[in-house]
Symmetry: C2
Subunit: 312 residues, 2 copies
Amino acid sequence: MLITFKQAASKLKAANKILITAHILPDGDAIGSTLATMQMLRALGKSAQVFIDDDVRKNLHVLPHFEEIRRPVDGEKFDADLLLILDTSPDRIGNVAKMTDAPILNIDHHVTNKNDAGDLYVEPDAAATCEIIFKLAGELNVKITPEIATCLYTGLATDTGFFQFSNTRAETFKTASELVNCGVKPNIISEQMERRSAAEVLSMRTALNSLKIFYGGKVAGMFLDLPTMQNCDSTEGFIDLIRVIDGVDVAFMISERSEKVCRVSMRSKGVDVSKVANELGGGGHIRAAGCTLYTTLDDAEKILVAAIGKAL
Amino acid sequence: MLITFKQAASKLKAANKILITAHILPDGDAIGSTLATMQMLRALGKSAQVFIDDDVRKNLHVLPHFEEIRRPVDGEKFDADLLLILDTSPDRIGNVAKMTDAPILNIDHHVTNKNDAGDLYVEPDAAATCEIIFKLAGELNVKITPEIATCLYTGLATDTGFFQFSNTRAETFKTASELVNCGVKPNIISEQMERRSAAEVLSMRTALNSLKIFYGGKVAGMFLDLPTMQNCDSTEGFIDLIRVIDGVDVAFMISERSEKVCRVSMRSKGVDVSKVANELGGGGHIRAAGCTLYTTLDDAEKILVAAIGKAL
């Protein structure tokens, strides 16, 4: 059921033992918002614990209190009077869903969240869930410590691509400003977030070496085969290297995840790539979409380039 | 002579024909601050014209009123009652210095500005000259149009590495927030600023392919020879690709600009690279420094790697 911001705050005030979670494949906003909320609720004298049912990428391990995040073990239960789900709907929290029967409070900024399994406060204009949690700190009268501010800033910065995506609004910068006043060091967080392993940089080089241009420069693609992918933790940001090329409308990357399983990512400046992805069994947004093609890398290239050609 | 912010504003109010300029090798803050100030002074009914004695990189050509920037032709004079120099001291404005004998008003955020050829207002805490010009608009009672805001935001964003450098402070984000309220679209400016030519991306690939690791992973270097450099407009951001590698303290790039002229750029996470640069006849800051070595690319590598080794 949809509830208001004030109602969401009241439910948190009324709770005493809160299990906090976010989505699997957690990003900076998932980890930042859960850790910040945990600290805020503890400051109010409540018991609060974060569980995330997935590995977390290494860059985020530096966040304050990260070491307290737990992953549920098989069949584990947790004594809670509220299950707080942040940055996602209840269907993407893995086995945390089985840990408690406590009522659900769900706070999110994704307009696609249609959760009806619990109370939902959704604010689609917010750039990040951390932007909502910042306001919640005010509503709950919690002092924002440098540690809480660091968690919130990380979510805000990563979910906006460091203030470069279209979800960046005046309120986002205002929140960032106040978080800096609370003790955040933007340059230190940026440095931590942009760190890459040497293996990742070598994979990026392999990707760049595979660059092919199609349709007279309107389309650019990169290709990562299975051996390369097996040595690569993350391909985050690789596609940006070619997306920025002058004249390129659609950039794509195909990565072979296992034999005859190729993951496709697309970015666009004009063409609706969600249509291309949909046609190939995937989905996404106008400017960023993806799909999986169950064939060889060579065949995947042919299929994808033909589909993009139709869309141009 | 050092003057106050209010005195700087008074001098602008008193002037009627203002020649505005900034440094050669102009960046986003130089172009953004001059174009914004030109529009502001014109809004006050004054005559104002920007001259820059250099080429401007293509990404900045999209800024409002960019097409009105002029480059002085040989011996050209300009009738002005004030020479407004932004974002640099008077020794880095090329032939614009010869265009007028009008008194100089110099506004800058570089702490290194020691100009005594005219009135100087310097605010070293400001992240960008555009941050000062934003405050000046308030002092002069000029409405910030979306066009002025776009110029100011571009300077603010580029001089802070899109809010990722250590000069980013609470005030910077507050200014960005107000500029968005004035009509700035952060994502559109980001997209325009990050555009690269295909040739640039191919040079980046060449650079990445030349990656060498030294001192057990503490130092990473890239090398661009003369033929590659001749096909490359800009190497901006190349060094960042390897600076972010886990464990790398010093990243460097050596680019051959002509026969036996090698330009060295260094970035560091800990070591004071300005000392290394000084020792080799260059200069810079603790974390970012450079020098020129008058020898072959191979020799430059040996000399630089040895010097960095001593500093580690």
